[in-house]
């Protein structure tokens, strides 16, 4: 039974394909143990960082004796520090995420991404946490590194259900306030809320120096409104009903969607967010693979 639930959110083949890849942070992370990510602090890795003048109090063992012998000056030789990262995966489980006409349900898609990334992060020794919210916090699992914690995350994802309206904006604000230490924040949502409010959230996260990525999930039908006869649209997060002919409203609808997407994309760029627009008819492993490759390229380039 448990295995079936896991199969819904994890795909062994995808995990195998992605096993050779590594999820890098795009900026130095503050971890509590040695890891694979750069730290803003100096440490004891083999990678030289810089020379610094000796000041009283420094450990004399760190003096570069050769420079002292040659120049009669006291310099400290510093090395980069490697640390682990804390990753928060934030999944929107409001009722709108259960929409899925052409592709799979957005929520199922979100769970697969969340589960896969959790698995990868856990296996590369990083702490991973999970936050589910609708109009409030539905589940809050702080980041940890042990395998049991990963099982806890899987169980939570497997049991999660969509409900209520979305409270993405206020939850992200609260989240940004609560997490003081810089972390990798991966948000998976359809973002059906006011764009200005959403961009405020992104600014808040950016201000807190979080490295955050947004998987913006949209059903193909929501992107093309490819319907051919009158439809009574029933609001999934409310009681509103709208009878409309797609042929008549398609153009203005697509115009509105495009404007909204452009603004989100520009907002993400502005606040240094890693924006991924995902149509749920696309294979999620390709999305993740590209996500990982981009980050790796960035990490190597910076190195």
């Amino acid at each position: 039974m448990e295995q079936d639930a896991y199969n819904e959110i994890l795909d062994g083949d995808v995990l195998t394909r992605l096993s050779g890849q590594f999820l890098h942070a795009r900026q130095p992370m503050v971890g509590n143990i040695v890891g694979h990510h750069k730290s803003p602090y100096r440490g004891s890795s083999v990678e030289f960082a810089e020379y610094r003048k000796y000041v009283p109090g420094d450990d004399p063992r760190l003096l570069d004796w050769r420079v002292l012998a040659r120049t009669d000056r006291y310099f400290i030789r510093e090395f980069e520090a490697d640390t682990n990262l804390r990753c928060y995966i934030v999944v929107d489980c409001s009722e709108s995420m259960s929409f899925g006409e052409k592709g799979m349900r957005k929520f199922d898609y979100a769970r697969k991404i969340a589960a896969t990334l959790s698995y990868m992060l856990s296996h590369q020794g990083d702490a991973v946490g999970l936050q589910l919210f609708d109009n409030g916090v539905a589940a809050d699992i702080p980041p940890r590194r042990n395998p049991l914690h990963l099982k806890h995350i899987f169980d939570t994802l497997a049991k999660a259900k969509t409900q209520n309206e979305t409270g993405l904006v206020q939850e992200l604000h609260q989240f940004a306030e609560r997490i003081r230490q810089r972390a990798l924040v991966i948000i998976i949502s359809d973002c059906f809320c006011d764009v200005d409010d959403l961009l405020n959230c992104f600014e808040h996260l950016h201000f807190q120096k979080h490295d955050f990525a947004l998987f913006h999930l949209l059903d193909p039908l929501e992107l093309d409104l490819d319907l051919d006869r009158p439809i009574r649209f029933q609001d999934m997060e409310g009681s509103d009903v709208l009878l409309a002919e797609p042929e008549i409203i398609r153009e203005p609808y697509l115009e509105a969607v495009r404007e909204y997407l452009v603004r989100i994309h520009e907002g993400c760029n502005k606040h240094n967010a890693d924006y991924r627009r995902v149509s749920t008819d696309q294979p999620y492993d390709a999305i993740l693979a590209d996500f990982l490759v981009d980050r790796e390229m960035l990490a190597k380039g910076r190195a």
Binding site: I231, R232, F233, Y275
Partner: protein, 703 residues
Amino acid sequence: MTFLNPLMLWGLPLILLPVLVHLFNRLRHRKLPWAAMMFLRMANRKSTRYAKLRQWLVLLFRVLAVLMLLFALSRPLAGGWMGGMFSSKPDVVVIILDRSPSMDGRADGESRLEKSRAAILKGMKGFAEGSRVVLMDHTATHVQEVGSAAALKNLMSGGVNDTAADLASQLEAVQKWFESENPGTGEVWVASDLQASNWDPASKERWRGLVNGFEALPQKVRVRLLAMNEPLASNNSVRVRELELHGEGERAELQLEVEVLRDKSEVTEITVPVTIHLGTESRKLDVDFKLEGTSHTQFVKLSITDPGQGGWGWVEIPDDDNPRDNRSYFVYGSHGRSSTAVVAEDPYIGRFLQMAAAPNPANTNQVSVAVAEASRAEVKWSDHAMILWQGALPEGDIAKTLLEYVDTGGMVVCFPGQLESETKFAGIGWGPMKSTQNEQGRAYPSWREMVVAQSEGDHLGPRVVSWEEGEGPLARTEEGYSLPMDGLYFSQRRSIEGDGIILASIARDSKPERTAESLIVRKVRGKGQIIFVGTSPSDTWSSLNFSIVLPIMLQRMVSSGAASGSGRFSSDRMLSAGDDPSRTSERWVSVGGEEGESRDFNTEAGIYRLGKRVVAVNRPEREDLVPSLEGDEAVKLFGEMPVALFQEKREGTAGDPKEIWKWFLALMAVALLVEGFLILPKSTDERVVISRPTTGKVATEAN
């Protein structure tokens, strides 16, 4: 528009199909839980008016496409005069063809009749199958079945004749035929030049009855009116209105009153050469008529060598746009019998008047007939050249008949009676009785006593002081001698009350200028006249019974009555074609036509002989009347009946009806094309496309 396959029109409700599909589509909407409601609300607010309009336009063009397809399948006919009515093929077509003389008008070389015939035959092509065709020629009183199109062509092949058309009567006959035969849905095709005299538009009651008759029929009857009323460029007509034969022997003279009419009232003066042919004497005379207005009447005198034998001839003008009205025939002969009817309340006076009017009993050409009071209503006054009426003036129906008689050239002479009466005849009545009295104030019982009583050389009582000697019944003799009017004695007389021309006045000797009263008054009415004589020829009245004046006066009057009524008297010689159907059985032979030409007495103008009797037959006078109805006026006569009008003068030639289903197919294609254009998706450049990268990574510039 007429449809050859009207059954397809039952499919017209199918045009609602696109609407029903549209409504059904709307009703069959499905429910869809939707997450991105924020965009839908925004889109719903922004959906443009054009998008909604486009939806309705698409629907409209779909409806039009179905409609055009149905029309195309119904095989519509259009063009010419067949295209004017939205109808299906009728069960029966009744053709009424006007062949009156005015239909021979040629606006462009081809006569109106020929054009009508061609239009009807072309129109029949569409109805070659399935419709029964009957023809009613305007000279016929019954409809004639037509078996085939070829038969119709043969039946209509005759040319114009000289009878007048009476379209209302023909339509009445057609209505009765529909009533009796009940042949199913019908169309009446009327081809006419809309000459007003043929249509009788003034008889509104008659037309209303006709239309009501058609509307009361169980089946629908439509009318197709082919109006060949294009005005003619140049058309004159000629007619002999009256003819009088004056004199005898070598001095005999034929006086013709010839009238030339022209169609257009133009200010320009034209000269129409009129040729008068005397057929019996192989002579002709050319006279130029100068027309300033629409008509010109002129008297033409011809000397006749042998008036006793009589003769005939014709008057002719040169060919113009209507050759049918360029000739008018006439027949002349001696006056023959002249008859006087005498109506008198006093038998003595009556007898005296009879003798005065016809003094020689051996002369059977001059007779007088006494009319008894009981038989006055049955008398045919028009048979008499003069009517002498003594006593109370006629009233009621008799007065009306007599006035009509006067209008047509009759002569009525009235003498007073003893009884007082206030009756007026033609506005004139008898006043109070006036007696001549002696010095003792006693009235003379007779004029003879006045003669006895008068002293030698004196004239007792009133006397005629003045009379019209220039012309009329009291004119001087040819030698210049006056009639002895002033020698008349009057013991009794009545004054004449009313306006008229005074022919003789009476007065006392002493003050003629003050006391003069009218004795004889003439009232001219129509072509004839009424003469009132204030006294009667008897001893108690006046010496008219003794004087030569009365016979002379009456003889002159009867001769004047005969002359003025010659049009009436010659009515049995001058006939109008087709106006007397009772003569259809008589075997008249044409004598005045060209060599070897055979003419129909009943329908064609000419000179005809039956035994010794020779008559001239002309087209009816009403055929010369130019006014023709406008198409709209003719349509109005049919009231609520469906009428399709084709007017030659507005719409050109009544061409061949054409099947126009191809046009409807083309229109359907156009409708579908427009519909297709409207529902065409926007081009790639115009369409709003939202990029969906397979990797999820969106380029900065991408939308």
